[in-house]
């Protein structure tokens, strides 16, 4: 829980009282350049951790590696003790760790409702033989009801039959989140959930993220907007050139020399005041 983090030392690689995700010796290089080189990192359960760092720091690569969308050169990571190294992306999702994408991937030619219904796990209608011979109707109706509930939560119930491709940027972000939640994940990794969203929606998205934590999920997200990060994070991890250069509460990070250096200071100093 959030409170437990108050007593944790703000040192890179510090252990957490109740880690849901633990990363060890994770490396990935592209043509000789190290994109990610994280010795040790733990994420506290049921908190919101934000991952920040200058452009090119390796944040998205880090996400890709953890969720199986890229192959690590070395290292291992565990979700509730279960090793995920080498596990394909779809299985990582099934085990309870779901991610969204920086460039929103809404399935444009599917409707909003279909987008969300797609994500329901264990749907018998998804087996080819069942699909042909029938017997999936009841489950489908149940899934539809579930999907509608999700969409209502995100305020999108009125656009269920629109093609996802016709949605605005912010609405797509919300859709992607609604879709991710259908999987009932324990860990939700959001890659720049505010990017390209008009400021009016930003607050709504923030509230949604907080509610994710409040219902017992762990949220890890990448962001650039310092105000947002200050306001919502329980914990902050700072990456630069692929390494973790700092960890801590927002207050710890605001005054951290290394971080200020990495960012050339201006924005962060302002936010701390």
């Amino acid at each position: 829980m959030t409170a437990d983090l108050q007593s944790v030392e703000p040192q890179p690689g510090v252990a957490k009282p109740d880690p849901v995700l633990v990363v060890n010796a994770l490396t990935r290089s592209f043509g000789g350049l190290a994109a990610v080189n994280v010795e040790h990192l733990e994420f506290q359960r049921k908190t919101i951790t934000s991952l920040i760092g200058p452009n090119g720091a390796g944040k998205t690569t880090f996400f890709n590696l953890l969720t199986g969308f890229d192959d690590a050169d070395s290292g291992d990571w565990h979700l509730n003790g279960s090793g995920l190294a080498g596990v394909p992306a779809f299985r990582v999702a099934r085990q309870g760790m779901v991610r969204t994408f920086q460039l929103t991937k809404s399935l444009s030619r599917l409707t909003v409702l279909e987008n969300v219904m797609l994500a329901s796990p264990d749907h018998s209608g998804e087996r080819a033989l069942r699909a042909v011979f029938g017997g999936w109707g009841a489950k489908e109706r149940a899934v539809e009801a579930q999907a509608l509930t999700q969409l209502e939560r995100f305020g999108m119930a009125h656009m269920v039959d629109e093609f996802a491709g016709s949605l605005s940027g912010g609405q797509r972000k919300l859709l992607e989140m609604a879709r991710a939640l259908m999987v009932d994940p324990e860990v939700v990794m959001l890659d720049e959930p505010m990017a390209g969203v008009n400021p009016a929606l930003t607050q709504a998205i923030l509230e949604h993220i907080k509610s994710l934590r409040d219902e017992g999920r762990t949220v890890i997200f990448v962001e650039h907007d310092m105000d947002v990060i200050q306001e919502i994070s329980d914990w902050i991890v700072v990456l630069a050139e692929g390494r973790v250069i700092a960890e801590g509460t927002p207050d710890d990070i605001a005054t951290n020399e290394k971080v200020i250096e990495a960012y050339l200071g201006a924005e962060f100093g302002r936010a701390a005041e």
Partner: protein, 419 residues
């Protein structure tokens, strides 16, 4: 559907004739590529219990026939020493067929399968070295064609399935300028020059009239791929109409006596092809490494946006890539024509080998294509030391699949970033 009736193959010939004359007969042809080339001048002997009953020599259409006196079980043998240069049995153990049963009045058909390859009867080492030379030659031909394909992919992102047609185009044009009745009848070397230049022109025109406008419209890469397949089909059939379905041949350099070099018998044209290709590929390498234009090509292949923002005219670079590809592929076609025959689908037939070479070396790199070309050529030819020549192209496919499983970016390519 009308053709279906024509294609219906009747069961092996058995006109039950009233007279009791029986024959054993057949047609000798090489069947390891698409065209069936008849083989004449080969001796077939029919015997009964060790006693010779009759012999025949296959005519220019490959047909042979031996009359036999009565029904019975005969041994039929092909004399491999009478096989012409470049033709050999696909399975040496099946050149003597025992117990061929013939009924009264039956014209029994017997088949000897021949392929193009080294005739047996020489030592294993010699045969192996011969195959190495053939492999290098095929490798050179593939490498020349593959470089163009790889570079064009590198700078435009298009896998041009019509690339094989540049090879055919070059070969056919050379045929026109050299051998064709309606052409000027120049020597092959002289004919090769306009052939290669016109192929480059063809390539450049393709880029200008088709691919550039499509790129401007931001056509998806899948669509472009399908379009290139359509183009390949159309061009191939135009060439089929113009050239005809029969394989043609050059006059110069086609039939040569082998000379002995370092103890191996090599046909001079093979050495010339290998040598010329190495020199030309070396030139391409130097071009790409040390000239401004060449460096620009590599820059665009590496990162188009970056190259553009540093002032490089991307469209011009792309045109250079196409022209270069056309020249090299056209030349490859001439070499291929000298090696084998000139046919409407010769380029399409080696397209598999070109793809294998490009994937092996790395799609998008010229050096990869060169390396891949030689490796594929060698693998394919040398493999016939162990497997039948009909299946040698399968080796290229096997390498292709293996590369995609193990290292899809090829030997010299770089892994792609995701997201």
């Amino acid at each position: 559907m009308m053709f279906a009736t024509l294609l219906l193959t009747a069961a092996p010939a058995q006109a039950q004739e009233e007279d009791t004359a029986s024959t054993i007969r057949g047609t000798l042809e090489t069947i390891d590529n698409e065209s069936r080339v008849p083989i004449g001048g080969v001796t077939i002997t029919v015997s009964l219990d060790g006693v010779e009953v009759g012999t025949a020599v296959s005519g220019p259409d490959g047909d042979w026939e031996v009359q036999i006196p009565a029904a019975g079980s005969y041994d039929v043998e092909l004399d491999v020493t009478t096989l012409p240069e470049g033709v050999s049995p696909t399975d040496p153990d099946r050149m003597a067929l025992p117990d061929v049963a013939v009924r009264d009045g039956q014209n029994k058909s017997v088949r000897f399968n021949l392929g193009s390859g080294i005739s047996s009867g020489i030592s294993d080492l010699d045969r192996f070295l011969d195959l190495v030379v053939l492999g290098l030659k095929l490798g050179a031909i593939i490498a020349l064609a593959a470089v163009g394909l790889s570079i064009v992919f590198g700078v435009t992102g298009l896998v041009n399935f019509a690339h094989g047609e540049f090879v055919t185009f070059g070969a056919v044009l050379a045929f026109f300028f050299h051998t064709a009745d309606s052409g000027p009848g120049w020597g092959l070397i002289a004919a090769a020059i306009p052939a290669v230049l016109l192929t480059a022109l063809f390539a450049g025109t393709q880029e200008l009239t088709l691919w550039r406008p499509l790129r401007r419209r931001r056509t998806g890469s899948i669509a472009m791929l399908v379009i290139s397949i359509g183009l390949s089909f159309a061009v191939r059939n135009v060439i089929l109409i113009v050239l005809g379905g029969e394989p043609e041949s050059y006059e110069d350099f086609v039939i040569q006596e082998p000379t002995s070099i370092l103890g191996i018998d090599v046909v001079p044209k093979n050495l010339v092809i290998i040598g010329a290709s190495v020199v030309i590929l070396g030139g391409v390498g130097l071009f790409l490494r040390y000239t401004q234009a060449g460096i620009a090509v590599r820059a665009v292949a590496d990162n188009k946006d970056l190259a553009e923002s540093s002032g490089i005219d991307v469209n011009r670079v792309i045109m250079v890539a196409w022209l270069m590809g056309g020249v090299l592929a056209g030349l490859s076609g001439v070499f291929l024509g000298v090696s084998e025959k000139v046919e409407w689908n010769m380029g399409f037939r080696i397209l598999l080998l070109i793809f294998a070479a490009v994937v092996l070396g790395g799609l998008g790199t010229a050096f990869g294509a060169m390396l891949g070309g030689f490796v594929i050529g060698l693998s394919v030819e040398v493999s016939t030391f162990w497997i039948t020549t009909e299946l040698k192209n399968g080796v290229a496919l096997a390498i292709l699949v293996a590369m995609l499983l193990w290292r899809p970016q090829g030997l010299l390519g770089t892994r792609e970033r995701i997201g």
